[in-house]
């Protein structure tokens, strides 16, 4: 599904030059569940942003679905992103002013989906993650686990080929964390490709492959025994 070769990201300020990613080579096939691990500041999130096309590389090649995306304009990137990728964040990143339903629907608003079709799909996905009964609540009225389920629903509703999760359990207690991980595992089982950044070895074990990073490089790749 995606291939990265010699991909680097360098942040420059007036005085300091920081290499966040250093010549990364990475392949992810369709249907994989990949966990990215490593200490704070090792470049996990930068790599995830590169995969999600939220940031562009300083050099190297990134081919997504057979298309080179390294040099695309922001507007083109937005198009590729919205067709293919769903995001789940550590801090949920729900819009406080919108209801649960409206938050989920937000992902379809930018896809030109007709209203009736939107309603059907939002209902379906809310059912799937078990928050249909909270549809009219505001995010602030939900528990952390419920909020993350809303975020998952929002990531799923546009049927992305790839789901990117940036420490999805980081703000959750153990019980809710497990709940979200099982949900991701189920999605993977249904065919979704998932890339997840996590600090938790236990949660990384849900993935089929674990990529360990240090100082902007991939240190080690380990496949879980099937």
């Amino acid at each position: 599904m995606l291939t990265m070769r010699e991909l680097s990201k360098v942040y420059r300020t007036d005085t300091v030059q920081t290499t966040a990613l250093d010549a990364i080579d990475l392949d992810i096939a369709e249907g994989e569940f990949v966990a990215i691990m490593g200490p704070s500041g090792c470049g996990k999130s930068t790599l995830l942003n590169m995969i999600g096309m939220l940031d562009s590389p300083s050099s190297g090649s990134y081919v997504f679905n057979g298309q080179e995306v390294a040099g695309l304009s922001e507007s083109k990137l937005a198009d590729v992103r919205k067709e293919n990728i769903g995001f789940i964040f550590q801090s949920f990143n729900l819009v406080d002013e919108l209801s649960v339903r409206d938050n989920v629907e937000l992902a379809l608003l930018y896809h030109n989906v007709p209203a009736a079709e939107r309603k059907r799909r939002v209902d379906e996905v809310m059912d799937k993650v078990g928050i249909a009964h909270r549809a009219k609540h505001r995010p602030s009225q939900l528990s952390g686990g419920q909020q993350q389920r809303v975020a998952v629903a929002r990531a799923l509703v546009a049927s992305p080929k790839l789901i990117l999760a940036d420490e999805p359990t980081g703000n959750l207690d153990t019980h809710h964390g497990e709940e979200v991980m099982r949900m991701l595992q189920t999605l993977n089982g249904e065919g979704s490709t998932i890339v997840m950044v996590t600090h938790s070895p236990a949660h990384a074990d849900y993935a089929g492959r674990i990529v360990s990073m240090l100082d902007g490089r991939i240190l080690q790749e380990r496949r879980r025994a099937a």
Partner: protein
Amino acid sequence: MWRNYLRIALTLLARNRVYAAINIGGLALGLAGCLLIFNYVRYESSYDSWLPDSGRIYQVQTKFNLPGQPARNVQMSPFIVYEKLPGGFAQVEAVTSLAPGKTVTERDGQPVFIDVGTVDANFFDVLGLPFAQGSAGTALPDTNSIVLTEREAIRHFGTADALGKQLSLGAGPGKRDYRVTGVLRNLPRNTSLKLSLLFRRDLAAIPPEQRGWGNFDQQHYVKLRRGADAAAINAGLPAWEKRNIPDAVIDGKPATMSDAVDLKLVPLAGVHLGATQDGGLAPGGDPRALATFAVVALLTLAMAVMNFVNLSTARATQRAREVALRKVLGASRGQLIVQFLGESLVMAAIAMLLALAVVELATPWISAAIGADIRIAYLGPAGMLLPAAALFLVTGLLGGLYPAFYLSRFRPAEVLRANKSSVETPGNGRFRTALVMLQFAIAIGLIASTWVIFSQTRYVETVDPGYRRDGLIQIVNAWRFAKGGEYDAAHAAMLAIPGITGTTRTSLPLASDTRPVWLVKPPGAEEYQSLSYYGVDAEYLQTAGIDLLAGRGFDDRIALDRVPAGDDQARAVRGVNVVINRAAARKLGFRTPQAAIGQTVRAMRGGPLVPSVIVGVVEDMRFRSAREAIEPAFYAVDPDATEVVLVRFAGARPGEVMAALNKVWRKFEPEIPFEARFVDDIAHELYAADRARGMLFAGFSALAVLIGCLGLYSLAAFATERRTREIGIRKVLGAKVRDIVQLLVWQFSRPVVLANLIAWPVAWWAMREWLNGFDIRIALTPTPFALAGLLALAIAIATVAGQSLRVARTNPIHALRYE
């Protein structure tokens, strides 16, 4: 503690320079506009109050209630007031009469007019004008003496030291030398007593028939005794009039003339802004315009204060963390309220200082532009210090109260646990949106009003006046020039000037404030109708370019077309042919102009009835402002009554024609100044006040829009900052820059769109009221309102689009990671 607050307030200002500049600048503009208008209103209301004992001095004004005519008020009053009023009311300490007029003198070889007043011996007892030389006791001992102002003295003698000098005044046989017996200090500009030179009035020389109630040639001023009540005198005046005004016989019937004339004492200080302006020595003020100014100033101030409140509140939400920390460290709610109020007062104080600087700089300039003498004083009853301090306190407290109470309510634990730097409650956002909406409602209302005022002014200036205005010159003061053999010779000389195609004479100049009204009885009717009377010559209708609707114009060869020489009795015996206008035909009850032709009406102006045969009906003319209804008028060939000459020209340079006319005039009238103007200019000047009002509205509209945009700009800055995370989420979910800009622009356009709902009805009502003051007016269409709304919207969008674009372009990962 206070020093700590002050230091924090100033540090905050220094740190948020843009915010501070917008907030303080906007408030300073609003305050400056308000103070400028405040000073102007005070100046306009200060007329004549500088005179000693001004609180005890009253002008006697007259209201005429003549049958068939609208009531009319003048500042003049009948001669009997002088002789009989003190005897009728013990409260009257002194009364004096002042007959205004003008005289002629020669300066540098050119004749010039001087405004004069002819006064009696009591004058300086009532009106204590200040003397520079001489004294009230020694001034004006006889009719050969004069008193002039320093300015007038310097004009004639080159020095204010004029006491005892001789000055030659008057023209023709009336010309003679006068001795200066007093020099007055220059009167301040804020006086209704526009006097440059005073003559002594010889009361004994006034013939008996002019000593009664029918002589309205003079104004009267009375000084009441201390503690006297003018209302009591006004209440007693109707009975006094009954005793002193004899009944008369009109059209064979007895008429109670005391009912036709109502006298009233009006405080001298109220004359300038009073409803009665006819017969005044100086043009009066317009209280309606003043009220408009005051309203507009208050609206602008309201906008600035709203801005101030709005921005303070927006800023305040970002200081939640500071408040929480202070509370944790032991600050009480009261202390926090004091701190925020203090900060707001510091900002208001800086804005007020800036505003005062603007006022100081702008006042001399504005003062010169409107010909006023506005001075800035800080202390004293007319000083600006108290109102400025009050404005400062009100704006400072208003700007601080809401944020103070709102912010001090935060619970520290919640704010700190959420690790947020800002908090926002939904109600707070609505409050600010409502304020922005109100601001734009004011701006839209002002823009729409400006539009309507300019359209209407343009319309009345360009509407067909019923005669040909272009290529027409009006020469006034032609008392002798227009008469007899002198005119015949002058007429030939004027026609010899290249370009001049015709000249004619009339009794009334354009835009005159006098209206000679005759009572006219149509055939078979019982009631009189009042018509304006124009004495003209036979060329008048053609030269002025007035269309004939029915019948014929005047003809020199027809004897009955000309008013016979002599008094009204001669007219009554012989009768006369007249031409009326369309409005007169309607008023006299003729269904068509044609129906009036050949009919005989009977006309009078207090004397005998004159049988008048209508030989022609002409189109209506607007000789006055479009504020006034078309006057029903009739014309008769009466050259002896004319004192205005109209000159028609074509195909020549206007300036050269004017210069050539001046030469002709100087040849025939070397002693009288040449006063001629293009009729187009006179018509233009009629609407100068309306144009000035339009300019004022345009200026304040611009100011209102500017203040509104300042507010919108910084509000958008705060709101986009607050919504950074939401925008990040939307972008991650696939929103493009365009989508985000649309979202934000709509958020800020909505209050502007809603503002129309408030602005339109109010502006529509105000403009309808204003338009109703005109006899002819433009239709009040939705166009100006819709365009004002669109304009405001476009400006609002332009204001927020830049920021929205900036925010929409930022990379979402920053917004999402560092929240």
